[in-house]
């Protein structure tokens, strides 16, 4: 069971690393979006500080969206998703393993890049820490909700805009609380973090089950 799940994670990471853009894709995209804002706005330190959490979270949502098509797309084409559905490993766990792989390949690089973005946006140490902690608390929810959209549109050709239309409304709560807890301080930030954690936990409990049901339907 555990070994099968680990194999899925290893395999997905290898596929992400090799195919189209590899592991540079999400962080590169993230860095580009973060670069555009100061250039498009006026780079006054006060404005940048206010803007930083918003830019990081918007870029995070977009980066997750960008990478969603690769979660199930190739697996459906080459039949490996059928294999997963037929294997002894419950499909719910397979979905969870794939979500974890996605989190490692696309989520963690964003967390690693966030301090750099914070530097460029003139955040101090405490604000930077707040940004990173909020990302860590919210990214699981962001990824898992994305998985739902990926499952619903699995096997569709050119589903890019459709995935965005489906996923963005569902991601809104995470974005709102993410920006809030990154920008706030003290007990308010803690409340925001608690909500983010709650979303991540709820997504962890609900999404694998729903996504597996949806995938079985897609594979019929």
């Amino acid at each position: 069971m555990m070994r099968a799940a680990l194999a899925i994670i290893r395999r997905d990471l290898a596929v992400f690393a090799r195919a189209g853009g590899g592991l540079v894709l999400a962080p590169g995209f993230f860095a580009l979006v973060a670069t555009l804002f100061p250039l498009a706005l006026n780079p006054e330190p006060g404005i940048l500080r206010l803007l930083a959490p918003a830019v990081v979270w918007v870029a995070g949502v977009l980066a997750v969206l960008m990478s969603l098509e690769r979660i199930f797309g190739e697996d459906i084409e080459d039949g490996s998703l059928d294999g997963l559905a037929l294997s002894a490993l419950p499909l719910e766990l397979a979905v969870l393993a794939k979500a974890l792989a996605h989190l490692l390949a696309f989520g963690l690089p964003l967390v690693a890049l966030a301090p750099l973005v914070a530097l460029a946006y003139r955040l101090d140490g405490a604000a930077t820490l707040g940004l990173v902690v909020a990302l860590l608390a919210g990214l699981p929810a962001l990824t898992l909700i994305g998985m739902l959209g990926a499952a619903l549109t699995a096997g569709l050709r050119r589903a890019g805009a459709l995935v965005a239309l489906i996923v963005v409304p569902l991601e809104l709560p995470v974005l709102i609380f993410g920006v809030w807890s990154a920008a706030a301080a003290g007990p308010e930030a803690a409340a925001g973090l608690a909500y983010l954690g709650l979303f991540s936990l709820a997504a962890l409990l609900v999404v694998p089950w729903v996504a597996a049901a949806v995938l079985r339907l897609v594979l019929e």
Binding site: L148, L152, L162, L172, E220
Partner: protein, 240 residues
Amino acid sequence: MLTRAISPRAVLALLRRADPWLQVATLALFGFGLVDALLLSPPDYQQGESVRIMYVHVPAAYLASQVYLLLAAASALYLVWRNPLADMAAEAAAPLGAAFTALALVTGSLWGRPTWGAWWVWDARLTSVLVLFFLYLGYIALRQAVETPDKARRLAAWLAVIGAIDLPVIRFSVEWWNTLHQPASLLRPGGPSIDPSMLRPLLVMMAAYQAFFLLVWARQLRARLAPRLRHEAAARKEAA
């Protein structure tokens, strides 16, 4: 075909019988409601004549959410029992709900300009309705994008149910964000109490919108149901 609690034939007959009544109700209610709302009811002491937008705006907003509830409930029924009627009900409701939501957004915007001095305010209520509109669009787009009809039905049903679970969360987050980001502004002029002279046209207009929705929805449903029943009857004849 799975066993069904309700016979589609009886449903079709009921829809056919209801049509003239719904036509009369829609025309009568709109006739009286519009005259009452636009001519007979008094202008507001604060907003003046612009308050009349309320009579076309509030019913649209009310139906926008009501139809989504219907869509989600029908979708859930379809996922559990695979009753084709439930899917037809959902499919017929989606574009209507999207239209009411768009109407609510547009009329709200027109009302916002004279009363709040802005076409759009990032208020919790407005933002939630905008997200509701996106959910409708997503449902319709997903239904069209999936090529296998059966898969399209069930995937869209899942999306409608997921959206229904998510709507209260979205609503709650936007309200939370909003109350923390914006100072309380005078978003509810006149407060919750409303004079009977204005309540009457409002209620009549809500009933008119409701009747109009039921009329169009029932016709959409018939347009899906009748050919299918004919087809099934022909197939049975073939077999016999």
